[in-house]
Symmetry: C2
Subunit: 438 residues, 2 copies
């Protein structure tokens, strides 16, 4: 007999199973958050996930794609040569009959740098729980959601059922800088009827997300002793001039964004950020060099190449009117994201499943629609491969900031929602050996 | 019989002796310039100098003064705790009768950072000679002058004479950041009737020099994901706001400098420099921190404490009008110079000796007077100890910049001038064992 995912008793059993496993889940999340999986240092976290999948009997695909092998995929960016290869770990669960719809449960395990530790209340890679929140770099973005997806499947199995459709549990890197991890799994051939990414949405659904472009400005010039400031120009103040020009461009783009259907109510959707700066060597030497790493948002529907050309033009125009930069034009490196914005459309079926699951777990009708000023990997599935891609996850706070944290009650709700969503979307089969529960 | 320093034959013999030794001098300068004697890494260069003095039979005083022992000396600054102690090497030559005037020959051996090596034509610490110039970090500022002073004494001795007055050949550190090296030698008790510092002046005489104040601004604040730029403010753009305020202060100070007797003809004597900047950790995180190292000049006669208070006030005022800095006031660290400007006065006697030496070596009446927009250690001798202090040395180019270089012909002239100056100022005795030459 096929278990009925709408059966209230089964739904209650699934929720109870999540609760039963939640202490282990929090412990697992703590261990996972301990791993400082910064860009380029994700191997331990990938190993951790591969081990967890193998221990659960998933079949595991753990491979490294040379960057060149990805070049012709849509959404590719070359990260200015700073990324040579991309490792991913995908677990596949085919324990059911395969009759149901398939699902990709994707999550990134890269985290952004933690910044000066002195500015954290507790050490960023020594997770602590206070007042129901877990604190730690990556706890919110997005290790809690990622772990929730894994434990959601565990809960189903503890409830005596297993997804009828094929499941891919994907651990990817580079989400925070380029999306090359998601792209590598698609290049490998992984497809499904739906993708689900539990980024921290506060149990809302991302309806629209911006795109982004990353670039580094490298200003170079001949400096001198500060005594002769007039004979050499400062690379630092020249860089300030470029940042100011980009801030003016940001204002123009946001003015234009007032007409966008998904963003007309968002006050300032497109953010320019000079995120990292370094320049000069000595207090009393005119700085000869300055590098600044920049990020600029763009709207769903914007043409990335055209936006990139506008950024280039803004920098070139600003340089041409500056006495030092005119003779020392800045170099622009495209260091990461070359990312389209994305709007979730044509996803009625998975959205209906999500709404039912959300209702069961929270009592609310449906998750709130969100227009994000950040981005997620959903664009790869939705834009380039026609796979409806839901982004829904727990409540986090101060992601990318100090004292990043995730609300553990919301993590439990989210785990319930994912389990119920899987049950509904993929259908269920009884697990052999637990006939009494089906 | 006492040799007559004005005797044309002896003066010719001294000049010839400089020429005889010049190949060795250039070799010595090459080896000395090879040593990357950056701030905090001066030990090898001090050892090198101590060895050179011992090999010549000078008595050597090589000591390290704890910073605290210097606190009550005039001109002291505490470098924000970043300097713990100051090592100096002083050679004393008392080979003559002691009847003549005494002289301090001082030179610093610290060099400023070389910056990105790719911007040098040849490696900064592998000195090369091209078209009569020696290239290398520190070759000009001020290793060539420093070596010239040592080889000037060598030349006198090869000419069969030795200074009648006591000579102190002083190797100091921290000239480029605080002056604590010069201060340490004065605290040790070294005094003389005149001090001579062969900084690269292009065979001119420094009549006036500016003072300077060093400080670091530390901006800190709570950042966030760039998606929420409005909830966290950028430490980098906040720092830009402070730099702009300091540039306005710089303009005001230079307007006021138009009345200064030594600087009314200097277009922009007081330079503000943001010399080094570092901030932020990630392109897509709002930067939570930014540090910038700054230098501001001041005029001879300015009160350092009052200028420092003005800098503080400028920063505080700018912070108060900035939405982020208002709640996160920047920290100011005083990281180095707290230096008075200095004008050379009441030095008729040594100036006359220098003019005679300069005339003999170059044919010009007297060295050109210079109003420097940089500073030297002369202020310690002249301002605080009433020791007339001459700054005169070879021709250098691009000091603190890439491809720093010194003109070797000017180094030879400078060596002649220093030798003739010593002869004139200190008087001469015949060296035992070379009676025929006296």
């Amino acid at each position: 007999m096929t278990p009925d995912s709408q059966d209230p008793g089964l739904r209650r059993a699934i929720i109870d199973a999540v609760a039963d496993g939640f202490e282990r889940q929090v412990h697992f999340l703590t261990e996972f958050t301990r791993i400082p999986s910064l860009r380029g240092q994700e191997d331990s976290a990938l190993d951790f996930m591969a081990g967890a999948l193998r221990a659960r009997g998933w079949s595991v695909d753990d491979w490294t794609a040379p960057l060149e092998s990805l070049r012709h995929e849509p959404g590719f960016c070359d990260c200015a040569g700073e990324v040579r290869s991309v490792r991913s770990v995908v677990g596949t669960l085919s324990s059911g009959t395969g009759a149901g719809r398939s699902l990709i449960l994707q999550g990134h395990l890269d985290v952004v740098p933690e910044g000066p530790h002195a500015m954290w209340h507790s050490p960023p890679f020594a997770p602590e729980i206070r007042d129901g929140w877990m604190y730690g770099r990556g706890a919110g973005d997005m290790k809690a959601g990622k772990v929730a997806a894994l434990f959601a499947v565990d809960a189903l199995r503890r409830a005596g059922v297993t997804p009828s459709g094929r499941l891919h549990y994907q651990s990817v890197v580079e989400e925070e800088s380029s999306g090359l991890g998601a792209l590598a799994t698609l290049a490998r051939g992984y497809r499904a009827d739906c993708a689900f990414i539990p980024e921290p949405t506060g149990l809302g659904l991302v309806r629209a997300q911006v795109g982004a472009i990353w670039f580094r400005l490298k200003v170079r010039g001949r400096p001198a002793h500060v005594a002769y400031a007039s004979t050499g120009a400062s690379a630092i103040t020249a860089t300030m001039h470029l940042i100011t020009a980009l801030q003016r461009m940001e204002a123009r783009w946001n003015d234009a964004a007032r007409d966008h259907p998904q963003y007309r109510d968002v006050p300032h959707p497109l953010n320019f950020n000079a995120g990292k700066i370094a320049g000069g060597d000595w207090t009393s030497s005119l700085p000869a060099w300055c590098d600044v790493d920049c990020r600029m948002g763009l709207l769903p529907g914007d043409d990335v190449a055209a936006r990139r050309a506008e950024i280039t033009r803004t920098i070139e125009t600003a340089a041409a009117e500056h006495p030092f930069l005119r003779d020392n034009p800045p170099k622009i490196l495209w260091t990461g994201f070359m990312a389209d914005g994305y709007t979730l459309n044509d996803a009625d079926a998975p959205e209906a499943c999500l709404a039912r699951a959300h209702h069961t777990a929270t009592g609310q009708d449906r998750p709130e629609d969100q227009s994000w000023t950040a981005l997620t990997d959903t664009r790869f599935y939705g834009l380039y491969h026609g796979i409806p891609s839901l982004c829904y996850g727990p409540l986090a706070d101060s992601i990318h900031g100090f004292d990043e944290r995730v609300d553990l009650a919301s993590v439990q709700r989210c785990t319930e929602v994912i389990a119920l969503f899987i049950a509904d979307w993929c259908g269920l089969d009884s697990l052999p050996g637990t006939p009494g529960k089906a």
